[in-house]
């Protein structure tokens, strides 16, 4: 079964490569790059929520941390290779600590939701207050609600003057997305990934087998945080400014909507969901008749009501042959039943 999944992954990568070259015929590089970054960000939540069963309302924290970590270190260091690594490491470590704090406390579902949401808010509030000169890391001023511009953007490793931007930034981001996708697929096919899915299915059974579910969940959470951080760093390089808005609740909500619409329990679903909805937002931004937040909200409501499993899994089971591989009952957002939150 794992080998069929890996074979599917090869097809996905192939389709991805084709798409990478076709997409620029339709849309400009600048917008496409952002859609790819969104895809990477959605993938990070799709991994921890869809496969790890960890409900995180604050994925934006790791995204924002990655972006700020990149911006601050790039402003200090210059050359972008080290800042990229820092931008993965900082959210990875932070996610691990946050995850360990929650999972060792046996918090689940709604409490994970509350805590991750609250952490998002703390960062958002705090970053907005960092306008003053006292908030300075090395040569980088955080800049409060105005954000922080003026740092070295992505360059060819070793050559700070060879900037990667526009079309090349697009291709770099897309290749990174494909590589991360393959790595995550391999992770899920490995014993670690299989145990992670088993924990989603039945945590107490996995513990009765003698595995340390809490530690493993923390690690998975950290991996998701690291991927989100990478997306944040690429965003920072694309936007050339980082602002507290990266930590906003709206940002967190969008990531969740991408995953829900695309479909949990798959990796392709969230990525496509992010790209499609990101494009929709872009298209809606061109007009003023309808507010795009209204549309996003309605989409979330309708999908939860009508397509609770998301678009991609529903399509997959509609095309019979793959339905065997895609088990509908494997896709759970959290504990069902009239579950008392304290139960």
């Amino acid at each position: 079964m794992e080998s069929t999944k890996l074979r599917d992954a090869a097809w996905v990568v192939l389709a991805g490569i084709v798409l990478m070259f076709v997409a620029p015929l339709v849309l400009n590089y600048y917008t496409l790059t952002l859609l790819v970054i969104y895809g990477l960000l959605a993938l990070s939540l799709g991994l921890i929520w869809g496969f790890g069963g960890i409900l995180c309302f604050g994925q934006a924290v790791f995204y924002g941390l990655g972006a700020y970590a990149y911006a601050v270190s790039a402003a200090n260091i210059g050359e972008s290779t080290m800042p990229m690594l820092i931008a993965i490491a900082v959210p990875f470590v932070f996610a691990f600590l946050l995850g360990a704090m929650m999972f060792y406390g046996r918090l689940t579902d709604v409490y994970l939701g509350v805590i991750t949401l609250v952490v998002t808010l703390i960062f958002f509030r705090f970053m907005n207050t960092t306008a003053g000169p006292e908030y300075q890391i090395g040569t980088a001023r955080l800049g409060g609600y105005n954000g922080m511009p003026g740092y070295q953007t992505l360059n060819v490793p070793g050559d700070p003057s060879a900037y990667i931007y526009d079309s090349s930034l697009y291709y770099v981001c897309f290749v990174i997305l494909l590589v991360v996708y393959v790595l995550v697929r391999l992770l899920l096919a490995s014993p670690f990934g299989r145990i992670a899915v088993a924990i989603r299915e039945n945590e107490s059974r996995v513990e009765l087998m003698g595995y340390d579910a809490r530690f493993r969940k923390s690690v998975l959470f950290a991996i998701g945080g690291g991927i989100a951080g990478l997306a944040g760093a690429l965003y920072a390089s694309w936007a050339e400014i980082v602002t507290p808005g990266l930590f906003s609740l709206g940002q967190s909500a969008e990531i969740i909507i991408w995953c829900i619409v695309g479909g949990l329990g798959t990796l392709v679903g969230p990525v496509l969901g992010a790209a499609a909805l990101g494009y929709l937002k872009f298209a809606l931004g061109q007009q003023t008749a309808v507010d795009n937040v209204l549309i996003m909200g309605l989409i979330l409501v309708v999908v939860v009501l009508v397509l609770p499993r998301g678009v991609v899994p529903s399509l997959m089971s509609a095309f019979g042959s793959s339905s065997r591989r895609n088990r509908p009952n494997a896709v759970r957002r959290g504990r069902r039943g009239r579950g008392r939150a304290d139960g």
Partner: protein
């Protein structure tokens, strides 16, 4: 091929008494569910815990496995004090645990369920081998690729047993393994239990006297949180006190 001791993480037990409790007590609020129980299990012993509902046998069981933390008293497994340990650490000593409600991974296949258990203390290769063994042993071959969530109750019970023995435990704790099974399934369960018992000691919490008779175990009778008596099936069945508290009530 055999289950049980051998590659176990904790290895085979050294002591003669493999499990012991001293003055184990569990209180919930004002209710004492387990009251000062001292209990011993010898190597390769097969022991059934019986008693009426609310006698405390499942609570006692949960204190052994670490699912509940006892209020006072101690638990020793193979001379190691495990009082208050989390289930994962108890399991790592080489203890296989099956809880009352089938606890399986519903979204995964039967093979996957068993493999994950075998994998913890073996490599990938050996886990593959063990999994194939267990599947054949338990007659799960036909449904090995099926998603566990879609199986019937009896099949799920068997899958959970597969999970337990795939870890090659030297001590197995089963809470009502025959509950909700058909006659044929119960027979198969009895055979499996004897098979396990060749290399491992067992503690089985069970209601069904017929089942207990057919596995011919030593019995510990619980009543009101304490041990009423211990003995063979016949000794227990002929004891007037036991009949009063347990068998009598059940007609």
């Amino acid at each position: 091929m055999r289950f049980g001791a051998g590659g176990g993480a904790g290895g085979a037990p050294m002591a003669d008494v493999v499990l012991e409790t001293r003055g184990l007590t569990m209180r919930f609020g004002g209710v004492t569910a387990v009251d000062n129980v001292s209990f011993k299990l010898r190597r390769n012993e097969l022991r059934c815990l019986i008693g009426p509902n609310g006698a405390g046998k499942t609570t006692f069981f949960r204190c052994l496995t670490g699912i509940l933390k006892p209020t006072s008293g101690e638990v020793f497994i193979d001379d190691v004090e495990t009082t208050g340990w989390d289930p994962q650490f108890v399991a790592r000593l080489g203890i296989g645990i099956k809880t009352q409600v089938p606890s399986v991974m519903d979204g995964l296949s039967v093979r996957e369920n068993i493999w994950l258990s075998a994998y913890r203390q073996a490599g990938t290769k050996e886990a593959d081998r063990t999994t194939a063994d267990v599947i054949e042993r338990l007659g799960l071959g036909d449904i090995a690729r099926a998603t566990v969530g879609r199986l019937a109750h009896g099949e799920r019970q068997r899958v959970e047993l597969g999970i337990v023995i795939a870890a090659r435990p030297w001590l197995v704790l089963l809470d009502e393994p025959a509950a909700g099974m058909t006659g044929e399934e119960v027979e198969r369960m009895v055979a499996i239990i004897h098979e396990i018992n060749r290399d491992a000691a067992l503690i089985i919490v069970e209601h069904d006297m017929q089942f207990i008779r057919s596995i011919a175990a030593q019995i510990t009778v619980f009543s009101q949180g304490a041990i009423l008596m211990e003995g063979t099936v016949d000794a227990v069945m002929s004891d007037a006190r036991v009949r009063d508290v347990y068998l009598g009530k059940r007609g």
